[in-house]
C-alpha cells in the first residue's frame, strides 16, 4: 500500500469537510463537517504511524485516540451552544448570527 493513498484520501475528506463548514447554513451540519475533518485527520495520523512502523506505529494510534476523545468532547459542548442559540433566536441558521457585523 502506498502511503499516499491514505494521505490523499485524508486530504479529500478534509477538503470536503472544509467545504461543508463554509457552506452549510445549519449549525449542526457545520459541526458534522467538523467531525468529518477530524476523522480525516485521524486517518492521517494512523497512516503515518503505520508508515513509520516499529515503536512509532503505536504513537499514531495513541494520537488518534486522543483526537477522537477531544472530538467527542467538542461535539458535546458545541451542540450545547447550538441549543442555546436555538433557544434564543428560534433558529439555528448561522446566517442570522451576525450581531458582530461591523
Amino acid at each position: 500500500m502506498l502511503l499516499n493513498q491514505f494521505l490523499l484520501l485524508s486530504a479529500f475528506l478534509f477538503g470536503t469537510g472544509i467545504y461543508g463548514v463554509l457552506t452549510r447554513k445549519h449549525a449542526v451540519l457545520v459541526l458534522m463537517s467538523i467531525e468529518l475533518m477530524l476523522a480525516a485527520v485521524n486517518i492521517n495520523l494512523v497512516a503515518f504511524g503505520a508508515f513509520r512502523g516499529g515503536e512509532v506505529a503505536v504513537v499514531g494510534q495513541v494520537f488518534a485516540l486522543f483526537v477522537l476523545t477531544i472530538a467527542a468532547a467538542e461535539v458535546g459542548v458545541g451542540l450545547a451552544i447550538v441549543l442555546l442559540i436555538y433557544r434564543n433566536s428560534h433558529s439555528a441558521d448561522l446566517d442570522d448570527v451576525d450581531s458582530m457585523k461591523g
Binding site: G15, R24, V28, L31, E35, G49, Q61, L68
Partner: protein
C-alpha cells in the same frame, strides 16, 4: 501467500472502502436532508474504522466505532431533533458561499495533494503485524500519561459545561 498478492488484496480493500467514504463525505455536505447527512457521516466513520483495521490499528478502529459512531452520531441526532432542523426543506441548506467555498476547498486540496505527492512519492507502508492493544495502552500509561489525565479533565470540563449551557432556567 505471496507478498504481491497481499499487496493487491490490500489495495483492493482500500479502494472498496475509500470510494464509499468519499461519496458519503460529499453527501454529508450536499444533502438536503440533515438526517441523511448524519447517516452519511456514519458511513464515512465506518469506512474510516475499516481503514484503521487495514492499517493494522485495531484498537483505535473499534474505539472509533464505539465512540464516534455510537456516541457522537447519536448526539448529532439529538441535536437535530432538539433544534428542529428542517428535515425536508424547500430551499437548499447551503448559504451563499457555495462557489467561493468550492473554489477554496478545491484549491486547498489541490495544494495539499501536490505537496503530498511531491513529498512522499512512492513511499510504501510495510506491514509486519497488527499492533496489540497492550502496546497501545502501555504507551498511553507510560509515555503519554499526562496528556491522558489532561484529556480526562477536559472531558470532565466538557461534561459540566454542556450541562450548564443546556440547562433550562
Amino acid at each position: 501467500m505471496l507478498a504481491a498478492d497481499i499487496q493487491v488484496a490490500q489495495t483492493a480493500v482500500f479502494w472498496i472502502l475509500a470510494i464509499p467514504m468519499a461519496l458519503s463525505a460529499i453527501g454529508v455536505v450536499t444533502t438536503k436532508n440533515v438526517v441523511h447527512a448524519a447517516l452519511y457521516l456514519v458511513v464515512v466513520l465506518a469506512g474510516g474504522a475499516g481503514q484503521f483495521i487495514l492499517l493494522g490499528q485495531e484498537f483505535v478502529a473499534w474505539v472509533q466505532v464505539l465512540v464516534y459512531i455510537g456516541a457522537v452520531i447519536v448526539l448529532f441526532l439529538f441535536g437535530i431533533m432538539l433544534t428542529r432542523a428542517p428535515m425536508h426543506p424547500k430551499e437548499s441548506l447551503d448559504n451563499d458561499l457555495r462557489w467561493p467555498g468550492m473554489v477554496v476547498a478545491v484549491f486547498l486540496v489541490g495544494v495539499l495533494s501536490a505537496l503530498l505527492i511531491d513529498t512522499f512519492g512512492d513511499d510504501k507502508i510495510e506491514l509486519v503485524a497488527p499492533t496489540r492493544t497492550d502496546e497501545v495502552t502501555n504507551e498511553i500509561f507510560r509515555t503519554y500519561i499526562i496528556p491522558f489525565e489532561v484529556v480526562g479533565i477536559l472531558l470532565l470540563g466538557a461534561l459540566i459545561g454542556a450541562v450548564v449551557l443546556a440547562r433550562k432556567d
